[in-house]
């Protein structure tokens, strides 16, 4: 039921349950979904697939979300892709750090799937 021209969302999260949950719900909501488990995979996939939007968990093993975001935003091929940051750290400064790294939006976990889809749609509309 997912259309071929539906927007491609890259979901980056090292926690499988969360990643798959978001992916499943995004697909349920009509999006194409790609997944990455860490920063390196996220960068690779982004270059390979050039998704319409990236959901980036910031605390990742190895290359973390901030570094990956910086890398992608530094490259002309991926600079235009909106990145929505996801973090479980609600402490002040987390959102500032995300914005600095180049994230276009910031969502605090726990974020219910439907709320996330609302945010994704908003960002995609903003890009258009």
């Amino acid at each position: 039921m997912t259309e071929q021209n539906a927007p491609l969302i890259l979901v980056v999260d090292d926690y499988q349950d969360a990643r798959e949950m978001y992916a499943e719900y995004l697909q349920f909501s009509g999006f194409r979904v790609a997944e990455a488990r860490n920063g390196n995979e996220a960068v690779e996939q982004a270059f390979a697939l050039l998704p319409d939007l990236i959901l980036m968990d910031l605390s990742l093993p190895g290359k973390d979300g901030w570094e990956a975001t910086k890398e992608l935003k530094a490259d002309t091929r991926t600079r235009h892709i909106p990145i929505v940051a996801l973090t479980g750290h609600a402490l002040a400064g987390a959102s500032d750090g995300a914005k600095k790294a180049g994230c276009d939006s910031f969502v605090t976990k726990p974020c219910l799937p439907d709320d996330l889809v609302v945010e994704v749609r908003r960002m995609l509309n903003a890009v258009k």
Binding site: E24, G88, A90, A92, P110, L112, P113
Partner: protein, 721 residues
């Protein structure tokens, strides 16, 4: 050259009437036919009285020696008359010439015509003198003498008469050859008389009843007679004395003849006052008439001495009174001193002691033996102290101190005393007395003992205070360390909670996510039974999430990880925003929620997010605990205190007074029981209060159970940075 003028003298004639006055003189001549001196004196006085001749001198020839001597005078110093002796051998001598002349000769004053040396010096003194020869009835006979008068006096018939009869009398006496003898006898007697009265140191005067001077001794003359050449002051003094004396004399005669009177005269020498006692007596003389003999006794010195004695006596009495008063005062002082005082003389004997000393050193003879022994013992101790002082060399003003062990004679109680003794020296440095004060040392000793005890107590106290202080310091140090440890623990706790909440969120995220997906039918339709069960999971999961979020908030505030983000904003605008955010809840509650905004500007400088969080919380609570009625959010700004307030007033269940404070504590609701009716973590108000404090404000509560509650947030218009 002599200046001699001759004046014709009226001769006495037989036709001259024999007046009673003349007759009296002639009678005198007859009675005193041998007494040349008496006749001379009577004649001169007669002249004074009847011819107005105030001053006259009679000279007589002494054939054996060929000299002219004075035999009588009136109104002239008697000494001058008696000492006068003039040789008549030189015929060129003026007096000899006058003697040989038939007529009176006038000698002009040497001073008046400038000639010197030839004018005779007579007892009459300086001035023009008339010399009238006295001779008998026989013609060409030698003159028996000369009568010297003041030339100013005219030769009256009375003078002429006297010269005639007196010349005959002189010749008669001379013819009997007794002139020289008489004269010598007279002179001796007179000389003796004057020697006697002059040797009297008191002035003696013979005066007539009118106070005229007849005879005066040398002392009297100094007071009452002045030579013509005397100075003005002396003459005046003499004049005054005469007046004073006359007045006194007249009083004496009239009032009390024999009584002594005091008479104040002036010393002609220096003008000082002289006080005399005048003793006058009246003498009757057939020839001279009534006379008054006055003896003046100089009592000036006597009076002065008397006055001096009187004055000294007064002084003495005053001094004596002063001494007595001084002694009384001293006695009073000595008696009023509680310490024993003893005064001893230079021999060590007791002169004076006050009552307290008496108690120690005296006892009645019939006292008990023990008392007498006590007194003797005290006396012995004191005597040895005093003798030590008396023997020792010490200057005036030196104070000797010593301790003496005395006994109370009655009780036998020992009395240690401190003796303080001072010497009293006379002006010549002789020791007159020793004053000793005995000071009872018992009190001082007792005080010293108490002081010592007090000191020991104080030292002990100080030691205790020191040890307590040291302990306190140790405790403080311990507390400080504990505080540091607590702070570390608190920080660790906060960190732990922060980490924990993160760790909680991740699985909770999945739980809530999948539950939502199941409820939305992502995995296919679910039966109503399953749906109900999923909803339970969802609501409990959400509750757990709220708890975790709120714990995280508190942790962040306590860890200081909630920085202020101060910005300028309108409080009025914040309220609709909050109401919009809670609109779903408000809609579900069916309550009437309204706002009453401030008419004035509500521009604040504060942390907008935190103010909003507080208001959201207060409104959520109001919605939760109100079942019917209304909720009103009021905004006000107080310009005076520079504060803004937001009050959330509901008509809910209310809070009883005893819970007004503890509902702000962590995890607290009015109903803490597990079966409580209302949900929530119990952390909401605790967070609100912390946030309000962080903004420099506070939250206050006004509530009545069953009527409703009003929570008011008050914050400064300008938040503290």
């Amino acid at each position: 050259m002599n200046t001699v003028t001759v004046r014709t003298m009226p001769r006495s004639t037989a036709s001259d009437a024999i007046t009673p006055a003349r007759l009296r003189l002639l009678e005198y001549y007859l009675v005193h036919h041998d007494d040349l001196g008496g006749c001379v004196q009577a004649s001169l006085e007669w002249l004074a009285r009847h011819a107005g001749v105030r001053r006259s001198v009679c000279l007589a020839i002494v054939p054996e020696t060929g000299t002219l001597v004075g035999v009588g005078g009136y109104g002239v110093p008697i000494d001058d008359v008696e000492l006068f002796s003039w040789p008549v051998s030189d015929t060129h001598d003026p007096l000899t010439t006058a003697l040989l002349s038939d007529e009176p000769t006038i000698f002009r004053s040497v001073r008046s015509n400038g000639h010197v040396g030839t004018s005779p010096v007579t007892p009459l003194g300086a001035g023009n003198v008339m010399a009238i020869p006295l001779r008998g009835t026989r013609a060409k006979a030698d003159a028996a003498g000369l009568l010297l008068l003041r030339a100013a006096a005219p030769i009256t018939t009375e003078v002429a008469w006297l010269v005639t009869v007196f010349g005959q009398k002189m010749e008669q006496i001379r013819g009997r050859g007794s002139v020289a003898h008489e004269a010598r006898k007279l002179r001796r007697e007179r000389a003796l008389f004057y020697t006697i009265i002059n040797s009297v140191t008191d002035p003696i005067l013979l005066t007539d009843t009118e106070g005229r001077l007849i005879v005066a001794n040398a002392r009297a003359e100094k007071l009452f007679a002045a030579a013509e050449e005397a100075n003005e002051g002396r003459r005046r003094a003499v004049e005054l004395n005469n007046m004073l004396f006359s007045a006194a004399l007249s009083r004496t005669v009239v009032e009390a003849p024999s009584e002594a009177r005091e008479l104040l005269l002036v010393d002609p020498d220096d003008g000082s006052d002289l006080l005399f006692e005048v003793l006058s007596s009246t003498v009757e003389d057939p020839r001279e008439g009534t006379g008054i003999v006055s003896v003046l006794r100089n009592i000036t010195d006597l009076r002065r001495a008397t006055e001096q004695i009187e004055e000294n006596y007064q002084k003495l009495r005053i001094a004596e009174a002063a001494v007595r008063a001084e002694r009384d005062r001293l006695n009073l002082i000595i008696d009023s001193v509680a310490d024993p005082i003893i005064v001893t003389d230079s021999g060590g004997s007791t002169v004076l002691m006050n009552a307290p000393a008496g108690e120690l050193f005296t006892a009645p003879p019939d006292a008990a033996a023990g008392v007498l022994r006590g007194v003797q013992s005290n006396d012995a101790h004191f005597s040895s102290f005093i003798s030590g002082l008396l023997l020792g060399e010490s200057g005036p003003g030196e104070i000797r101190r010593g301790e003496i062990a005395l006994l109370h004679p009655l009780s036998g109680e020992p009395i240690p005393v401190e003796a303080i003794a001072g010497k009293v020296l006379s002006e010549s440095g002789e020791l007159t007395a020793v004053v000793t004060i005995l000071h009872d040392r018992r009190e001082a000793l007792e005080r010293a003992r108490l002081f010592e005890q007090l000191k020991v107590g104080a030292d002990e106290l100080q030691m205790r205070v020191q040890s307590a202080t040291a302990e306190l310091a140790t405790q403080n140090e311990l507390l400080r360390r504990q505080a540091i440890e607590l702070e570390q623990a608190s920080r660790l706790k906060s960190q732990f909670l922060a980490n924990m909440s993160h760790e909680f969120r991740t699985p909770l995220n999945a739980i809530l996510g999948y539950t939502t997906m199941l409820l939305q039918g992502v995995a296919g339709e679910v039966t109503p039974n399953v749906k109900r069960q999923l909803q339970r999971i969802d609501s409990n999961g959400r509750h757990l999430l709220t708890i975790i979020n709120e714990i995280l908030d508190i942790t962040r505030i306590e860890a200081g990880k909630m920085p202020m983000q101060i910005s300028e904003f309108e409080l009025n605008q914040l309220v609709p925003e909050v109401m919009l955010e809670l609109d779903p809840v408000i809609a579900r509650s069916k309550l009437s929620v309204s706002s009453r905004l401030s008419a004035d500007s509500t521009m604040l400088l504060s942390d907008r997010q935190k103010v909003k969080q507080i208001v959201v919380n207060l409104l959520s609570n109001a919605l939760k605990f109100t079942h019917q009625g209304s909720i009103e959010i009021g905004v006000a700004v107080d310009r005076i205190s520079q504060t803004a307030s937001i009050a959330v007033a509901d008509t809910g269940i209310g809070i009883s007074v005893e819970h007004h404070e503890n509902i702000f504590e962590d995890f607290r609701q009015v109903d803490d029981s597990p079966s409580r009716q209302y949900g929530g973590t119990g952390l909401g108000l605790a967070i609100c209060r912390r946030l309000a404090h962080a903004l420099g404000g506070r939250i206050t509560l006004h509530s009545i159970v069953g009527e409703g509650s009003t929570f008011t947030l008050t914050i400064p218009v300008d938040a503290p940075q």
